[in-house]
Symmetry: C2
Subunit: 436 residues, 2 copies
Amino acid sequence: MSTITSIRTLDIRFPTSIFLDGSDAMNPDPDYSAAYLQVETDSDDGLAGAGFVFTIGRGNDIEANAIEVLASRFVGRDVEELLADMGATWREMLHDSQLRWLGPEKGVIHMAIGAVINALWDLRAKRAGQPLWQHLASLTPEEIVDLIDLRYLSDALTRDEALDILRRGQDGADVRQRRLLENGYPAYTTGPGWLGYSDEKLERLAREAVADGFTQIKLKVGADIEDDRRRLALARRTVGPDIRIAVDANQRWDVDEAVEWMSQLAEFDIAWIEEPTSPDDVLGHAEIARRLAPMPVATGEHVQNRVIFKQMLQAKSLEILQMDACRVGGVNENISILLLAAKFGIPVAPHAGGVGLCETVQHLAMFDYVAVSGSLEGRMIEFADHLHEHFVTPASVVGGRYRAPTAPGAGAEMLVSSIGEWEYPGGSGWATRSKP
Amino acid sequence: MSTITSIRTLDIRFPTSIFLDGSDAMNPDPDYSAAYLQVETDSDDGLAGAGFVFTIGRGNDIEANAIEVLASRFVGRDVEELLADMGATWREMLHDSQLRWLGPEKGVIHMAIGAVINALWDLRAKRAGQPLWQHLASLTPEEIVDLIDLRYLSDALTRDEALDILRRGQDGADVRQRRLLENGYPAYTTGPGWLGYSDEKLERLAREAVADGFTQIKLKVGADIEDDRRRLALARRTVGPDIRIAVDANQRWDVDEAVEWMSQLAEFDIAWIEEPTSPDDVLGHAEIARRLAPMPVATGEHVQNRVIFKQMLQAKSLEILQMDACRVGGVNENISILLLAAKFGIPVAPHAGGVGLCETVQHLAMFDYVAVSGSLEGRMIEFADHLHEHFVTPASVVGGRYRAPTAPGAGAEMLVSSIGEWEYPGGSGWATRSKP
């Protein structure tokens, strides 16, 4: 038996605004950050669990504080008991009626719940000696359904339907697992498309992306229509007709504006329009999707929880579901979202980039392929090639595909040296910079 | 010219769980709390602005921390400039792209924005020597529309439509203002109906409510159908056929469950079913409303922002809109919600109770009557008779009606003695109790 001895919470920020990595129509100057936690135990195995919420700078302290307050309940608790029933451990946080008032199930408190349960998943997978995707795929359908909370979903997905999906997912799971280990999982890259980049940089990076084996790139749009037309024409000329080009408006528009703007970009053969409007606007997305068809609508990185995703699937608001490892209530809620997507036959193409999103969300996509949807059709994980060097087990993309992680854990653990350098505001990296 | 010299943030909690005031099917043991702030200036007038987020206990520290981080930007700033353009002051917080990531526009960070702008409104109304409702009603339609953010609303409400509504609202505003000062605004009471109360207490309080002049009471439901049937039969026998009885499930059910449960209560002549399911579930509420018709559905106290309300109006998810003073982004966003409700012809019956919700939300309802909807039809403000004694200008309900406040300000200021007693965990009231 072992006990959780401490949960350390850290405010870690990287000064990415200097280079305009990550700049888009709504986020001109992000400092990519992580409200990070480490779960430590008194076990002889010396293993710790890591989890985080990705933010873009100011407010990372608010999120870190929420994690600290929330996680304190687990200090002194029995590790084996918490890890043995991860459904119950998760629901203990989710159903705390007093904390629930702060959401419910959305925003700062919900993301904090996600970070804490993800850190416990990291610890559990490390103890099992498995990468998280393989660890999840090793569970029975019943064990998996016991992890989730079907409240508010039963008009779209019942427990029996979830079990049916997972039982079908067992057929051929071994073969898919082998394929994944051999060939990896498809990726696309947002690297060329940040709004703050010059045309020259866009062209160079787009050419490199094709040379690197990517079959889809993504460009940020929505600040200026003439700029968008020029940049898309340039990108299309550069990559040719066979590479897919998606665009991302980062919630910039209202409904009519989205339709009008995108109609002017349709000639460039758009793979999808991402986040055309508010992530809360189920009906707005549905209207945009209907009017822009056959151009697909994608969204999800800011969708707060399974209830909004359920409605987006019911209302046909999206044709590509972009799950995020840190936005919702962690691995458990993301499993329910994978099951919803499978029920409605919608492919999941996870959001990644940021800090550690590639490292963590790949486990969910690979679990989906092995044990839930069983398919790679229309599926790929976003990739942005920055900040991976701060992780103990950085994501690896080769030839346009994520290599399946084989190291035990959930991929969230940062290097001690990176924490020392970029803890805010005391880290050595910040000592030499003016604070934003 | 004056400057903001400090913004003091306080974690204030009341041990209400001891008496089961406020107990319902989802919240069995709330400790009603306020994450409270005071804006102080160096002006000779000595006026301070007060605002808060209502919470129910644990997590009040998370909310207070968010307010503190958010509000710090205003320390040292010019008061007159901030108060002169409250639209710009609000949007400065709302559109901070880094902070926006923590919502966007929902949960802890969004409620913190609401508390900060509400405190500035309190200060502005005090400086104007007017209660907030009168202060807002004294603005021109253009000034009012400049306060709000129409982003994501234009498919339901344009700037011109908002101006039209407000211009129509000017007709007869003086008469309505006089009537309000003479007769007050209708109230209903939730006092008898908390789930933790005995049948005897329910009966006694229901009888008192009628004697006090209330024409509607509300009962909590959703824990046990037989209990609900017994309590509703008792309440209906006690108050007779002419008093309206609303019920509140506090998000307890899924769609089918809500319809089945409420079908078994329909015989008691239900004024409305409140929060049958997740506040995020626009389509679920719409389905429930359609299947339970003509029984009206009410919701809103947990609706996170104007985008969800917009959809609920578009989808016919609700027949009564229950705005809350502290859940969304403050006075500014609530004005946009009043305008949406007016556009769709849906009455607003604000959520109140808790800590200070009666004191604050009455200003919005009265502003609506004078300057927006111009109507009292189907409209009333919730009233729960507790914790008013902690406020400098407590809400006053006489003969089942809120008396129009005449003291300058927004009603949010707490007594110094109450703060000293119930600041958590250091206040004198908490020193003699075990901490939850």
